[in-house]
């Protein structure tokens, strides 16, 4: 039905295709991991103030994940959020649909070039401070599909990643360990060396 449509379906498809090709051309190198500030802090011996400790405790104890579940690892994430492995004891039971209210993106699944602009858009919509956990082999490096013509070899081509959780799919306990590592990383942030 063309009533009220400014663009035809063909034009919408072509615009999306151009966006994907442009992103693919820009993303040939991986984005470096945002953890240089970790070593710098140790070198400079900056002490943590009590404000920092309070802020970090608040931030790491109530991380709210934003939705990004393309593929199989999504079901291990759902199992982690369900009652047996219970992610809610870490304060993370609110899996918000809106990225504006999320501060953690757990990327669970293979990323394809067609999906990449949408993931970048969701990441850009999240407010600072935000963190990314790359869950599963496909998120780290493309996994079993790395040599395919349409798969992005790892999420770190598109967004900066903080913690990598290996596995195919990783067990819920492995994901919880990854979340714990992220919490330890957040505990070492300070307002002075504010990460990225």
């Amino acid at each position: 039905m063309e009533i009220g449509e400014l663009y035809s379906r063909r034009q919408l498809d072509e615009a999306e295709g151009e966006q994907i090709e442009a992103l693919k051309a820009r993303s040939q190198q991986p984005i470096p991991d945002p953890d240089d500030w970790l070593e710098e802090e140790l070198r400079r011996n900056i002490l943590m103030t009590s404000v920092d400790s309070l802020l970090n405790w608040a931030r790491r104890s109530s991380l709210w994940p934003a939705i990004c579940f393309p593929a199989c690892c999504a079901f291990e994430l759902i199992a982690t959020a369900a009652s047996r492995f219970d992610i809610s004891r870490f304060g993370m039971e609110i899996i918000r649909a809106s990225p504006r209210q999320g501060d953690l993106m757990i990327t669970a699944g293979t990323l394809t070039w067609k999906m990449a602009p949408q993931v970048r858009r969701i990441y850009d919509q999240m407010p600072e401070p935000k963190w990314v956990i790359a869950m599963g082999a496909c998120a780290i490096s493309g996994g079993i599909f790395a040599s395919s013509y349409s798969v992005v070899p790892g999420y770190n081509r598109i967004i900066p990643v903080d913690v990598y959780v290996p596995g195919c799919p990783p067990r819920p306990e492995a994901l919880l360990y990854g979340i714990r590592m992220l919490q330890q990383k957040i505990a070492r942030m300070s307002l002075i060396t504010q990460g990225r």
């Binding site: 449509e5 393309p70 593929a71 199989c72 999504a74 369900a82 599909f145 395919s148």
Partner: protein
């Protein structure tokens, strides 16, 4: 006075909490009513068919796991059937029984998720999902005993299964089979006559019988529209002709019928499991197959009744160690052909339910 409205186009997805995966629907809305809809997918196209041409026949089995990740055992089984047809490899008795046990357990696990997320979409936020996941965790424990994995098992091999079940498996399975019918009855008692479910799902998203046959729908979607076609009865593979089970069918083809068909299929699966446990023989679990299988040149099509429909693998071989052509007949891709007809005229909230009742798995639609 009639208010003049203008239709506008809205994207539902690809990142959406209720589309089961990355699936996008471009809906043209007039107010809240959908007047036109175009599905767009391919956001999870990983090129499995091309990747399989570079791997050996046994090396393709992990790739098939990741096709419909909620029914990995069924995918493995269909692929192994196709290769065994191509190469003429026999399967020992115990392996056949183990395959049937795994396939039926997998069917129960997959339908639990399907029913749970369908009810989630209907508005019963997390409670049914958590109940269903509790049962599914018991099944995943059984699978972990057997293959070491919770989601993508890589358990079946060409000519049998990869290893025998450990000793604690059979008692655990017997206990599960005794308890499960009670749980299914409890879910039924809570949900079957629930007013909200009836109001939201009865009469919604009807797929008429002729259309269902014309689009080549299969699985619960076809059976809910009134066609009694189940590959396990029509073209029995493995040893399904030795078991007694009923084939639930619906009448109207609306969302409520699809939900009922899935719940009844779970009951029938438990029935098959009880019979298989009684008849399980001893013996070896894998026939002698060379390490690198080199089937003679030719083609074969092996199909099974997967939880989502008729899953088939079409293999062409040119007498080398890798398949020449590996094609997956994806049931969910074909079931989606009539999505537009089912959705036009309903509101956005109904569209989510209709989509959830078809029960897709995006990794299979896109491959």
């Amino acid at each position: 006075m009639v208010i003049k409205t203008e239709p506008f186009v809205v994207n539902i997805g690809p990142v959406h909490p209720s589309t089961h995966g990355v699936f996008r629907m471009r809906a043209t809305l007039d107010g809240e009513v959908i007047v036109d809809m175009e599905p767009v997918f391919g956001y999870l196209h990983r090129g499995i068919e091309k990747l399989a041409e570079e791997r050996t026949y046994t090396g393709c089995i992990p790739l098939t796991d990741r096709l419909d990740y909620l029914a990995s055992m069924s995918n493995n089984l269909a692929y192994c059937l196709a290769v065994e047809k191509l190469a003429g490899i026999p399967v020992p008795e115990r392996a056949e029984y183990l395959r049937v046990i795994m396939a039926e357990l997998q069917r129960i696990a997959s339908h639990l998720i399907a029913v749970g997320t369908f009810l989630n979409d209907c508005g019963a936020f997390m409670t049914p999902v958590l109940y269903m996941i509790r049962e599914r965790e018991k099944i995943l424990d059984l699978f972990e005993m057997v293959s070491g994995q919770r989601l993508t098992y890589n358990y079946m091999r060409v000519g049998g299964v990869s290893q025998d079940v450990p000793e604690e498996f059979i008692p655990a399975l017997s206990k599960f089979v005794k308890v499960m019918p009670g749980w299914i009855d409890e879910y039924d008692w809570l949900l079957k006559e629930n007013e909200i479910l009836l109001a939201r799902a009865k009469g919604v998203g009807i797929l008429p019988k002729e259309l269902a046959i014309n689009i080549a729908a299969s699985g619960p979607v076809l059976r809910a529209s009134g066609v009694k076609w189940d590959i396990r009865r029509a073209d029995p593979y493995s040893i399904y002709d030795r078991f007694e089970f009923a084939i639930p069918t619906g009448t109207v083809g609306d969302c409520y019928d699809r939900y009922r068909v899935r719940v009844e299929e779970m009951r029938q699966s438990v029935r098959i499991l009880k019979q298989a446990l009684v008849q399980l023989p001893s013996g070896e679990v894998r026939s002698e197959v060379p390490h690198l299988i080199r089937p003679p040149a030719g083609e074969a099509y092996g199909h099974i009744e997967a939880p989502r429909g008729e899953l088939g693998f079409y293999l062409v071989s040119d007498n080398s160690i890798a398949p020449y052509r590996f094609h997956v007949r994806a049931p969910t891709l074909i079931n989606l052909t009539a999505l537009r007809e089912m959705m036009v005229g309903w509101k956005v909230a109904d569209a989510i339910i209709i989509f959830g009742s078809i029960d897709i798995c995006v990794a299979e639609v896109d491959r």
